[in-house]
Symmetry: C2
Subunit: 222 residues, 2 copies
């Protein structure tokens, strides 16, 4: 991972943060990171600003940039908001979804079925992401869609871990089918509630989340 170009610095750093390669609370040394990336401190510091704005770094003046991994509490809070955003997307989408959107959604569900049958977690996740992004877009509210995408992105690593829990794939798939059915029926409440339940961390999902959180090793230094 040696991006000569600066555009990649932000992405590379983000990757290093979310994968846990950089542990929580760790101070990022500008000089050594610059050397590692084969660039100077300038593009690095610009990336820091961007990452800090996304909440992935803490920028303390004259002290440095510190990796900021969400704690278990933060994660639960974020999922709570994610559930609400998705539910709202779904509510709007139920009214505004187009035939083309529905066709695309049906496709992703089929693709998810294939992936689930093959136990291909990576592919399932990719299609799962497409499914949700389609719903965000179908909300007809571009700002809402963008917010949802951002949060979705931030929760990505944890969601991926969750999907590896046994049986979760099939459950997720069944929920997708229910969401799609509600959308086709144009039942805003049903869509909204199905999505909320799909995202919300409740019941057994909390234990799954906690387990995957612990195994993520992101909580070092907390």
């Amino acid at each position: 991972m040696q991006p000569r170009r600066a555009d990649g610095v932000r992405e590379a750093l983000e990757q290093m943060i979310v994968t846990g390669e950089l542990t929580n609370g760790e101070r990022l040394d500008e000089t050594s990171l610059a050397e590692r990336f084969g660039c100077s401190r300038t593009p690095l510091r610009e990336a820091f600003q961007s990452l800090a704005a996304s909440g992935l770094l803490d920028l303390v003046p004259h002290r440095g940039a510190f990796v900021r991994h969400p704690g278990l509490t933060d994660m639960v809070e974020m999922f709570e908001v994610m559930a609400e955003l998705e539910a709202y997307c779904g509510r709007l989408a139920a009214r505004r979804v187009s035939a083309a959107d529905l066709a695309a959604l049906r496709e992703t569900v089929i693709a998810c079925e294939d992936a689930a049958a093959a136990s291909d977690h990576d592919r399932y996740y990719a299609e799962n992401e497409r499914f949700h992004h389609l719903i965000y877009a179908a909300s007809g509210n571009g700002f809402l869609a963008e917010q949802a995408r951002q949060l979705h992105r931030r929760l990505k690593p944890f969601r991926r871990l969750q999907l590896r829990v046994r049986g979760r794939l099939d459950q997720s798939l069944a929920e997708h089918r229910a969401i799609l059915a509600a959308l086709e029926a144009g039942d805003a409440n049903a869509v909204s509630e199905a999505l909320r339940g799909h995202i919300a961390v409740q019941g057994g999902k909390f234990n799954d989340l906690m387990a995957s959180y612990k195994s993520s090793h992101l909580n070092a230094g907390k």
Copy 2:
């Protein structure tokens, strides 16, 4: 406005953007801005990254930074999301609000009454902001509160303009009273709906918003 220090550059720029001093689509010339702020291009460019992440700037590689004012559509979309976020804050707050929170909320309502009686828009806005921030915090979800604060901040200039519409102050105050009453009663649905209605752009509010938007001169170059 000449911040010698770099921490102020971001704030100063943000102010210049939201006040409309910098018009929509305008390209920010690094050299001239640096000269104006009495600093070099380096801190400016770091501020650009931060502002771009907040959606106030568009950063086009090798082309420059362009001011990005929300169009009328964007604004309506943002208010739509704001209404939903506030409604959710209220729903949570109805369960979690503390006696101290309620006392503080009562204070702000009284302060709002004073300000409204004196037709002091600036003071009313300040207390109004405090009222809403208290509810965000009372939601007990720190992430949600932060998201709400950010969006609230971004909508600030438009909200201020809206409040200048005749009669809007008294209406807003009455709604605050209703929200507080619902919170005291612990009626989650009532709080949620009262807040949604308080924020949502609907009915006559849309015309007010449109009028204030036009008079904001932020839409130049669109």
